[in-house]
Symmetry: D2
Subunit: 341 residues, 4 copies
């Protein structure tokens, strides 16, 4: 049996750990052959493959990024994309695919599965917004990096002179902001799921100064104020063609400064959150996902995604999980309200 | 309502995070008063209390250890221990206890609960061996520290000259060894749940040298060879009166060296694994445990322990969880066998 | 003998380590008494003192910030500032001062020394721009944090899709940018001492993409393009009354993106660089500075600053070091040119 | 011009950073060719070479270990070793060598230089015991790792129940123990340069318990008690044929425990101290050493070693530095005595 492996979407610590365990178990336990598809769906579209064997996956467990490359290419946006995917699969005698990716990549996988292509999905995203699994690998690493940054800001906060704003990743969901904000002891946590009131934020900031400790505001890049409050400073378009407001963190620091009379500074962590070695938890989860994904291939159990449920790895239908984004539940957010303000 | 809080057993990163969130929510949301009991059950036995309020818990979220102190005292081993516990509770008008501890501490809590003392338990242990919860706080931090140590050893392993043995914590369960061993890419993982065969270990070591990469052996302090294989080098007694073999790591290095002719070196992490700041995950979990524990107190839902199930915090009867230790399931260990040897 | 201690200027990891060693040696070896002056020169101006003894300095070695507080107050900008300083000194029977600070604080110290006030200076600044010493404590910590951030960006850079800009501290000198840029393997390093040519930066960026690896641009917050190139996007005034351009990092990302057609993203580390625990080197240096400063006090050798020369701690006249800022020598910058572009 | 590069002796973070900068500047600035010699002097003895060019050194800056391999082979212990070295040099048209190593490797280099072989030395050792340079790369990384471990032990020390012993590297010199002990706030620091009195150590331990804080004892692996005090528990022979006492750390814990009645535990860091990514400082120093070494080759200035003096890189005659080991000066050790006990 020959298995093709691909990684799609943005960088995520743990991708290499999945690839390694898929290949190690596939070869050692089941005698499978492997072929790597370069740069996600692009490799299938353009027939670009990489050799993939035990030697190739040695030493990659702790390394960020992906040895297979990645892209955001979607075969269904190309004329005869599906045919070309089928051709590449046939040309290399590939019997099944292991597809490692986030919402977009798994959405394509679900559709290809419906079209009869045998595949198993593995969820990844630092944003933790894939449905059907307790969490995804990459998320714990990102939260750890953001928390460490917040920890360092407390030193300055203790001198009670400045408000400190930290902008973390999360365009559509506030998981990183909420987890890092709670773990780091942030006083204000702003997430995309809940438009904020800038007046109330400034009130919380002022309250904080009163107890001789400066506020730390943790804001997801996708968080936005209530309608009518945002003064758009810069409108640009990101690489996926979406308009985006650049710098809610920078904007918040200016507003806080103007409205409270206190100096405010911003830290924008950016891609620092998705790079470097995966945390121990992410390596553990990614390794288990890989082992269970290749088991599903061996079982001929296609069209599924491996997922974490408690401490067990289960299989869920791809069709079920790609229909929705997992956002932060309001009741979870409210759990922490005693720490805000 | 006045709530007493105590922490029992060994150090564990996250204890302070629990104390903080219990007090913050208890005061701010429910208007409770608090009193700290010093050094675990000892404080109740000897009537030693500490003031505990919002000011006292400020800034402790990222700090290891416990501001309340800890001990391994068991009130039931003292004559009239139960009466003295009741007296202290009465003397300070304490209406309920929040008890944060591992197996032993929670076992006492279960018994006190049966005797009618109103309390809620919070599970803690770096060893992850408390039943009824997916995991305990402190464990993720310990695994992270051990994994980072293993990562560093890979540099030496690449020079393929020496076998490297890492002894990690885990007297009765191999959770830390298994998680850190898998996350760190160890080649041999030895846990208390499964007596090992020293001949087979040496075989794995030799195989590893053949591929020009030195083996990394991760061993839990409580792991032991099959009957008849251990040559007892040093017999001593630990602080709890149990006989213990000192240094399975040191012993392994000597055996490997003698049997394979290769140099072998040992790293013994010791208490390094239970100190320092908790990981972001442990702070998140400890904070949630604290919030839910005080909710249980408010609900008058006593005799329970808060626990993690998937992404939810639930309440489980203390009587159910203190009857057994959670050890590593053989099927979980076997999941990783393609990486061994 | 009674010694007053104060810390002035911005946060800097290692301040507490100096305070601790000054007090430990002063008390244990020389039998001195101590008094802390709150918030730098402000404490002397307004007669706000703190008790300072062995118990007070216990456990502060690894902690960022300063237990004495800090400010940027300059007594010479207050009418009768000098008289009030003398009054506070007299009121508390202070025989000598230990003044821990950067350029501004030490400049005041030099002037007070000229006016006859017995004091010893200790240089601190994460920017490393105090003259007369090989380096200052705080700098190594800041460089370490910035380097770790750059390390993480390499993961994304390997996917060769985006230019990555990291803005680090350094308003007037490029020490952090140069050290972290070299240690992190940055391809473009921009410092205040050398106005840059945006066209040349974009050329280097394009060259880097050609070798299938994205560029990492490390820029000091005070770096600026050659005259005529900067399009001022936002003009604001910082807390010290200086006009400042906000966000050379953000500006660079936009320019690079527009001029090269490649996506570019920015990380702004901000105050993360000056918080948290000091590195081992900074603790070592700060501890030695403290020990030698109190020796100078004991010797009655006033008007000097302790300084690092090679591996030795020496004393240099404050008057010599406060006349100039230590900027990056062009020949040192040029040493690394083979790595640029 | 063709330059051969080799690395000898034990692992040391920063070796790859030197190789990278030697090659980058050699190729880009001077147009040199390079050849790598495998496993230190062994490569020259047995004519085993590796290709070495810009592509080969890409990405190695942050990686521990050495891409050229290393060994402790000494050509002068082989009959006709010198002739074979000359033969290999001639066979590959090598015009000069860059030799990166510690005391032993540089000693061989000094002798080969006397025999007319053109070479430049670069000092490396985590132990910091090479004379003629303020410090060596690798040392800062090792001290940082040991300090972080000590930091974590303070959490347990605060519970004042146990004495904690940390054994760090340093067979012949106490640099790591002294720096990490001072930076980590150790109460007892034991180094090979100064035989210790076990009675006095136990006295210090007892004093520490009296102030409700447990002692942290930092001991270099080569430290030993005064004559007559050591009860030899285990005598073994290390890989270099020297007899060594195994485990001064383990021995100390037992003695402390028996003599003071307090529980004592040991952490043995072992090879963890020499692995993993180099610190920012070590990368900076290693990079500069490499750049200056290839400059010396270009200048035809052979028989020298590059060295750090203050902030400058200088060249010193190899003959001067290999005659002696740099041990800890008693006056430096005594500088810190107020912190002991």
């Amino acid at each position: 049996m020959r298995v093709g492996v691909l990684t799609g979407g943005g960088d995520c610590p743990g991708l290499n750990a999945v690839i390694r365990s898929v290949v190690r178990k596939g070869v050692d336990a089941y005698g499978f052959d492997f072929v790597g598809l370069r740069d996600g769906w692009l490799g299938l579209l353009q027939d670009v493959v990489l050799p993939l064997d035990i030697a190739r996956v040695r030493g990659i467990l702790p390394r960020g990024g992906t040895i297979l490359g990645s892209s955001r290419t979607n075969p269904f946006t190309h004329e005869d994309g599906l045919r070309r995917v089928r051709d590449t699969i046939a040309a290399h005698d590939v019997d099944a695919l292991v597809v490692i990716g986030g919402e977009d990549t798994l959405g394509v996988a679900a559709e290809l599965s419906r079209q009869g292509i045998p595949l198993v999905g593995v969820p990844k995203t630092i944003d933790n917004d894939v449905a059907g699994t307790d969490c995804t690998f990459g998320f714990d690493t990102a939260v750890g990096i953001a928390t460490e940054a917040i920890d360092r800001l407390h030193t300055t906060a203790e001198s009670h002179m400045r408000a400190l704003v930290v902008e973390v990743m999360g365009r559509h969901s506030g998981w990183i902001a909420l987890h890092a904000g709670v773990a780091g002891g942030g006083n204000v946590i702003l997430i995309p799921e809940r438009p904020f009131d800038i007046d109330q934020v400034c009130e919380q900031v002022k309250n904080r100064f009163k107890i001789n400790y400066a506020p730390i505001v943790v804001v997801a890049e996708g968080a936005a104020p209530k309608e009518g409050q945002m003064i758009v400073k810069d409108q640009s378009v990101d690489e996926f063609g979406h308009a985006r407001l650049s710098g809610v963190g920078e904007w918040l620091a200016r507003e806080i400064s103007e409205r409270t009379g206190k100096d405010a500074r911003t830290t924008v962590l950016g891609h620092v959150q998705r790079g470097g070695t995966p945390s121990a938890f992410d390596r553990w989860l990614a390794t288990r996902f890989g082992l269970h994904a290749i088991d599903a291939v061996r079982d001929g159990d296609f069209g599924v995604m491996v997922a974490l449920r408690g401490t067990r790895i289960v299989r869920v239908p791809l069709a079920d999980v790609t229909a929705k984004t997992k956002t932060v539940d309001p009741s979870l957010y409210d759990e922490f309200e005693v720490f805000f303000g």
